[in-house]
Amino acid sequence: MTRRSLRDNPKRELWLAWGATVFFYNLYAVVFFLFTHIQPPGQPWYSPDQASTWFTEHHHGLGIGLALIFVFGGLSATSIALITYSIRRMSVSRAFSYSYLIIYSVSAVPGFLFICVALTAGIMRPERSPQLQHWLYQLGFLSFSGTMGVFLIGSLIWMCAILLDGNRVFPKWFGYLNLCNALTEVVVSPSWIFKTGVFPWNGLIAWWIDVVIFGIYTGVFITLLRSMIIREDFGTGPLPAVPAWRFWQSPVETAP
C-alpha cells in the first residue's frame, strides 16, 4: 500500500490495527517457540536442579525473547481493540464490547507479564538456590497456562455477542469456535494439580490439544477480522456479504 493510499483510506486505522495484530501474533509465536523454547513448555515434574539447569540452558534465548515481549507486548491491545470494534458493530448492547475490552486488557498482566518477569528473574541469577529457581520456573509456566478466567469469560462474551448479532459481522459457526476456545481454558485447569499424564501444563490435553485449538482459533479470527474490515460500510445495519472472489483482494482495491 502506498503512503498516499493509506492516508486516504477511510479504513486505515482498522488496517493498521489488523497489521499490528498479525505482527504481534507472529512475534509471539517466534519468541515463544523458537527463541525462548517456552513452547512446548518445560517439564512440570522437573526437580529443583533440573529447573535450575533449564534456566542455564535457555539463558540467551530467554533473555532476548522476553526482552522483545517487554518491548512489543503492548501491541496485544490492537487485536483486543479490533475485536471490541467488531462487537460494537453488532446489533448487541455495547456492554458486550466494553466487557470484552476490560477483561482482555486486564489479562495482560497475569497472562504474559508474570511469565516474562518470573523467567527473567530466573536467568538473572543462575547461581540462585535451585529451590528458588524451581519456584520461579513454576510461577512462570503456571501463571501462563493457569490464567484462565479472563480468556474463558472473554471468549464466552464474544460468543454470545456473535450468536445474538443480527448484523452478520461474523458467521455463527465462529461463535461456536469461541466456545471451543473457552473450553480449552476449562480443560487446562488440572495443570494446577497434576505433574504427569495428560493433564499437566505440558500434557496432551492442557498443551497439545489446547495449542492446536488456540492456533486454529487465532488464525480464524484474524482472517475473519480481515473480512470484517473489507466489508465494513461504517453503517449500523447488517454488513454486506463479501463475494468469495473479492475476499482475497488487496485492501486498497476493496476500499470504498
Binding site: 503492548g74 491491545a77 486488557s105 495482560a108 538473572m124 520461579l136
Partner: protein, 270 residues
C-alpha cells in the same frame, strides 16, 4: 462550611480547607453545567498536582531509588538494605500502592480528548484504553513485591533477594504498555487531520520520542552491569525521567484541551 470570600480556582493556597473549598467550587460550577460532556473533568485534572507531589515524595522516600539499588548486590547486602530501611520502604511503597493508579484518570482525560479527533473509527481510543490499566497495575505489582520483602526483613536473605529481583524486573522491564501507549497516541495525533487538531502536531513526535526512550529498559534482564542494567543510565534514569516528562507534558497539553472544551461547552449551554 463557614462562608469565605471566593478566591477563584488557584491551588496556590496551602490550607486543606482552602483546597477542599476550591475543589468544591469547581465541582459546583461543573455541576451547574451538567449537559457539558467535559463536566467534572477539571476536578480530575486538578487532582494531578496533588498526586504528582505524592508520587515525587514517595519516589524520593524509597531509598532504593535515590541511589538505584544495584543488581550486583549479594543476597546479604539486599537483606541488610531491607533491614536498615524497613520503615522508609514500607511508607513509600504504601503511598505508591495507593496512588500509582491515579495515573488512570489522566489517561482517561486523554481518551476523552481522542473522541474529538478526526478519526473514522474508535480503534485507537480502544487501543489506549486497552493498555491504560496495565501499566499502573504492573507498577502496583512491583510495590507488592517490595512491600512483601519489607514485611519480614529478617527472613532468609535469598528470599528477600528473590522478592527484590521480582520487584525490580517488574518495575524496570514492565514497559510494554507504556511503549504501546506512546505509539498509539503518536499515531492518533498524526491521524487527527483537521483545522484545529485536538493536540498540537508536536505532541505526536513527543510521544514517539518518549516511546523510544522507554524501549531500552526492556533489556534490563540481560545484564547486571552497564547502562542497560536496572540501575543503569538508560534502564533507570532515561526511562524514569521519560515517564516523568511524559506525565508533565501530557498533563499540560490535556489541561489546555480540557479548558478549551469546557469553555466551548459552557458557551454552548449559555
Amino acid at each position: 462550611m463557614r462562608a469565605r470570600p471566593h478566591r477563584g480556582h488557584s491551588l496556590g493556597h496551602i490550607g486543606t480547607l482552602d483546597l477542599v473549598e476550591t475543589l468544591l467550587t469547581v465541582v459546583r460550577k461543573d455541576a451547574s453545567l451538567r449537559r457539558v460532556p467535559s463536566s467534572g473533568e477539571r476536578v480530575i485534572f486538578w487532582t494531578l498536582p496533588a498526586v504528582a507531589v505524592i508520587w515525587l515524595a514517595a519516589f524520593f522516600l524509597f531509598p532504593g531509588f535515590v541511589r538505584p539499588m544495584s543488581p550486583r548486590a549479594s543476597a546479604t547486602e539486599v537483606a541488610t538494605f531491607y533491614r536498615e530501611h524497613t520503615a522508609r520502604i514500607r511508607y513509600s511503597m504504601i503511598l505508591l500502592n495507593w496512588f500509582c493508579v491515579a495515573l488512570i484518570p489522566l489517561l482517561m482525560l486523554v481518551v476523552e480528548r481522542m473522541r474529538g479527533m478526526a478519526h473514522r473509527t474508535p480503534i485507537l481510543r480502544f487501543c489506549v484504553i486497552g493498555v491504560a490499566g496495565a501499566a499502573p497495575i504492573a507498577f502496583l505489582t512491583t510495590t507488592v513485591f517490595w512491600l512483601l520483602a519489607a514485611f519480614q526483613p529478617e527472613r532468609a536473605p535469598e528470599l528477600t533477594q528473590l522478592l527484590n529481583d521480582l520487584g525490580w524486573v517488574t518495575f524496570t522491564c514492565g514497559v510494554p504498555f507504556l511503549v504501546a501507549q506512546s505509539g498509539f497516541l503518536a499515531l492518533a495525533i498524526h491521524f487527527d487531520r483537521q483545522e484545529q487538531p485536538v493536540f498540537p502536531r508536536w505532541v505526536a513526535h513527543f510521544n514517539l520520542v518518549i516511546g523510544l526512550a522507554l524501549i531500552p529498559a526492556a533489556f534490563a534482564g540481560l545484564t547486571k552491569t552497564g547502562v542497560f542494567a536496572w540501575d543503569g543510565l538508560v534502564s533507570f534514569w532515561v526511562k524514569n525521567v521519560a515517564i516523568a516528562i511524559w506525565i508533565i507534558v501530557m498533563s499540560i497539553v490535556v489541561g489546555h484541551a480540557v479548558e478549551s472544551d469546557h469553555a466551548a461547552g459552557a458557551e454552548a449551554v449559555a
